[in-house]
């Protein structure tokens, strides 16, 4: 039925014909054909680097194709700028929001509307549209104070106020709780029923199967399949995306549960005031992880996960030494290197600028995190502390081989690696020390499926060898795959952890929304 609507007499809303974009020697998009019908939710699937964002940028006018054509409502068009894309009726909701933190929601919306709209009416219109589509927002609120889900609503309202015919959504649910995602789907279905078309970019296959009418799958810049996702399985879609079967993590659900090993990491009553205007306070956080165990911490971004990570890693010191305990030692008042020497290892969320110095080589980045723990290997000359290049080079080689890091040069700068490969290197850099405590924030964010599987397996293997592992992640599939227990963070509070056997997606969703084991005020986010 859907086939008919697209290939029949009716012209598609948007038609891309052999779109190609070449960057230097790389063909980011290679003769891509795409047809989006009116009133259709069309999914664009593909791994990182498959060419999804390049394609979308060309449709939206942010990039110019090297060759190929775009037809809009049956007529050939050249979209020279995002402003022109908007005036044609193409709206875009970005994955990394282009909002202004210091301005209010209404002011943010006003900026993307034409100049004739008076400022005072925008707040009213935003409220109306928000209510009509189930996207409640407070127009007077400062965007910097809003949660990621609320920011996304502002982006969507901003897009809807321009009355577009085609709305492009880039990974919209990657920042939402399952319940918030459900609300978004209701909104999208309503838009579809009004005859609007949606181009939905995601790598969450279950979502795509549930929501989308058609799917175009990209791999290495080429269209590998155009299909009806409802007729496919998640596994078959994944195979199309990756080109081969994805490695399945080897672990048993009972593993790690009954172990009676000693506590390796403890957080006791960690409370902390916000450290900046957009930082979150922590309230009485307790957790403990035994050797051999993986604790997964779920939560929507910006609920205090970053602050918890900084408190455990030692980037922020605590008042009481006993607030953080690593391998039975009070560690609340000692710095990062001292905590590393106790056997702990840390991989922060941000790879470039936090986990690694972008303009330094891999070996130098290796030295930066391990200069004090592996002093004997990496530094020579006694008090002079000269860099032992040979020791560094062999350690880097070991990490690269173990984690299958793909790089173009012998010892490239960190910024020259793709996100997935750099993440593999950063995790491998810590694993190489066999740490007895490992805490990782968003281990596979923006990492393609193959590399993600590799990283998860490495974390499971580390736990099985007797270490305590804490994984903070927004990806519930990932947490269910590798965790022994899951807890959720909301508004700076950490829920009780629940063993994986007793856990369900609904329950973790409620916990992330604050409905369980959290302050009453927090539950407003779900309703």
């Amino acid at each position: 039925m859907k086939e008919k609507r697209i290939n029949g007499s009716e012209t598609p809303l948007l038609e891309a014909d052999k779109l190609t974009k070449i960057f230097g020697t790389l063909k980011a998009c290679d003769e891509i054909d795409l047809k989006i019908g009116t009133g259709e939710i069309h999914s664009l699937l593909g791994e990182n680097g498959a060419g999804k964002s390049t394609l979308v940028k060309m449709l939206f006018g942010a990039l110019q194709p090297t060759s190929g054509h775009i037809k809009w409502k049956g007529e050939a068009v050249t979209v020279t700028s995002p402003a022109m894309g908007r005036s044609l009726g193409i709206g875009m909701v970005f994955q990394h929001f282009s909002l202004f933190d210091a301005l209010t929601a209404a002011e943010n919306i006003a900026l993307s509307l034409d100049e004739k709209t008076p400022l005072d009416t925008i707040a009213v219109r935003a409220r109306e549209i928000g209510e009509a589509y189930g996207l409640p927002v407070d127009p007077e609120a400062l965007v910097g104070d809003l949660s990621v889900g609320e920011r996304q609503r502002i982006e969507i309202i901003r897009c809807l106020l321009q009355n577009p015919d085609l709305i492009i959504l880039d990974e919209p649910t990657s920042v939402l709780t399952p319940q918030e995602a459900d609300l978004l789907f209701v909104t999208l279905e309503r838009l579809r029923s009004e005859g609007k078309s949606i181009l939905y970019i995601s790598h969450r296959l279950e979502e795509v199967r549930r929501l989308c009418d058609r799917a175009t799958v990209l791999r290495h810049g080429k269209v590998v399949s155009q299909c009806d996702p409802r007729a496919e399985t998640a596994a078959s879609l994944a195979r199309m995306m990756v080109g081969s079967d994805i490695h399945v993590i080897e672990r048993h659900p009972d593993e790690g549960a009954g172990l009676q090993q000693s506590l390796l990491v403890e957080v006791n009553g960690l409370s902390q005031n916000p450290r900046g205007p957009f930082s979150v306070s922590l309230h009485d956080v307790h957790l403990s992880v035994r050797g051999g165990e993986i604790l997964g911490i779920a939560g929507v971004a910006g609920n205090g996960q970053g602050e918890l990570f900084e408190a455990i890693s030692g980037e922020v010191l605590q008042e009481r030494p006993g607030t953080i305990r690593i391998r039975g030692n009070d560690a609340g008042r000692i710095g990062i290197s001292a905590r590393r020497k106790l056997g702990a290892a840390f991989v922060p969320e941000e790879r470039l600028g936090h986990g690694a110095v972008p303009d330094m080589s891999l070996t130098n980045n290796l030295l930066l995190s391990r200069h004090s723990t592996d002093r004997k290997v990496f530094l020579s000359g006694g008090a002079l502390k000269l860099v032992a290049e040979s020791g560094l080079a062999s350690a880097a080689k070991r990490v690269v081989a173990k984690m299958d890091v793909r790089k173009s040069a012998e010892n490239p700068d960190a910024s020259a690696l793709s996100g997935g490969n750099l993440q593999k290197f950063l995790i491998g850099r810590e694993l190489d020390r066999n740490p007895s405590v490992m805490i990782v924030n968003q281990p596979t964010w923006g990492v393609d499926a193959g590399a993600a599987a590799h990283i998860r397996q490495a974390l499971v293997d580390l736990a099985r060898s007797g270490s305590a592992v804490i994984v903070i992640s927004q990806d519930l599939d990932e947490l269910f795959e590798i965790s022994d227990r899951i807890a959720a963070m909301v508004h700076g509070r950490l829920s009780e952890s629940v063993p994986i056997k007793e856990m369900s997606r609904e329950r973790v969703g409620l916990m992330m929304g604050g409905a369980e084991h959290a302050a009453p005020q927090a539950s407003a986010g779900v309703a």
Partner: protein, 306 residues
């Protein structure tokens, strides 16, 4: 004229140049540009204002010459930092040095010459009102301009669309560019406005405050204006309060010294700086609000990528 009236008037005259220069710099910094050349632009305004007035005999022509000189100096800064994307801090410092040197050269032949003083307003009856008449209705035109500027800048920044766009550019120039906002053009206009204000502030010094030309006559007022902007958390009315506080303490300490209070004069002379900074630090101690008002892309170079 009573003593009270006289003090009020001198306070306003001392505060006005700081207020005008700081308001100009406020707009510049709200757009994300840090121009440390306020002192240099001010002194250019002072010398050109004095020279033009002295040659033509008209204080008004002098005032416009001062504004033009400040704007021209800022255009040089804009070209260097916005078009050639040089370092804003270094370029601003260079502009100050250039202004001090160039003004000394231009002003060499004017040293010691009598200046043209700008006429004060006189409205019969109103100006003669006791206590406040002179202060409200008997001052020089630049005082009234400075009050209008305070109201105007507040209104522009927070009530108009152009002001919203300017704040957006200062908050996040990458996002603003993505929305199709002409970042560089807006910054040029802001820098020009800042230069014109600094020039006007300088002209006030050589046409109203002390109607003559003395080398280096701005005496660090440009730097005070810069500090006012930061300590006022980038908000116009706090700049107003800071400028008048500075004016009041600097006049007050002169009177105190004249009365022969036994406090070292060096300490008294530093009092206005100290008092202004302490008070502004106290009112800006709400860290969250301050960070909220700080233009996030302040001083960061912008190069659009295509």
């Amino acid at each position: 004229m009573t003593m009270f009236e006289a003090i009020l008037l001198t306070v306003a005259t001392a505060a006005t140049p700081l207020l005008i220069a700081a308001l100009g710099e406020l707009v510049v910094e709200r757009s994300g540009v840090l121009n440390l050349g306020v002192e240099g632009m001010m002194i250019m305004g002072a010398v050109c204002g004095f020279a033009a007035a002295q040659q033509t005999g008209s204080a008004w022509i002098g005032m416009f010459a001062g504004i033009l000189a400040g704007a021209a100096s800022s255009l040089l800064f804009g070209f260097l930092t916005l078009t050639l994307v040089t370092n804003q801090v270094a370029t601003g410092l260079a502009l100050t040095l250039l202004g001090l040197g160039a003004s000394a050269m231009i002003g060499e032949t004017f040293v010691g010459l009598p200046g043209v003083k700008m006429e004060s307003l006189y409205i019969p009856f109103l100006t003669d009102l006791p206590y406040v008449g002179k202060f409200l209705f008997g001052q020089d035109p630049i005082f009234y301009i400075s009050i209008l500027l305070t109201i105007g800048v507040t209104w522009f920044l927070f009530k108009t669309r152009a002001g919203l766009t300017l704040r957006a550019v200062g908050d996040n120039h990458t996002s603003a560019h993505a929305l199709g906002v002409p970042v560089v053009r807006i910054r040029y206009l802001a820098v020009l406005f800042g230069g014109a204000c600094a020039g006007l502030a300088g002209a006030q010094l050589s046409l109203v405050y002390v109607p003559q030309w003395v080398e280096n006559m701005t005496a660090g007022r440009g730097w005070i204006a810069l500090a006012l902007v930061v300590f006022a958390s980038w908000r116009p009315w706090r700049i107003f309060a800071g400028a008048y506080l500075f004016g009041a303490v600097s006049i007050g300490q002169l009177h105190a010294q004249a009365l022969g209070i036994g406090i070292p004069s060096q300490f008294m002379s530093s009092l206005p700086y100290l008092a202004t900074i302490i008070v502004l630090v106290l009112i800006s101690r709400n860290k969250r609000l301050t960070l909220m008002n700080t233009p996030t892309s302040l001083g960061k170079p912008f190069v659009p990528d295509r």
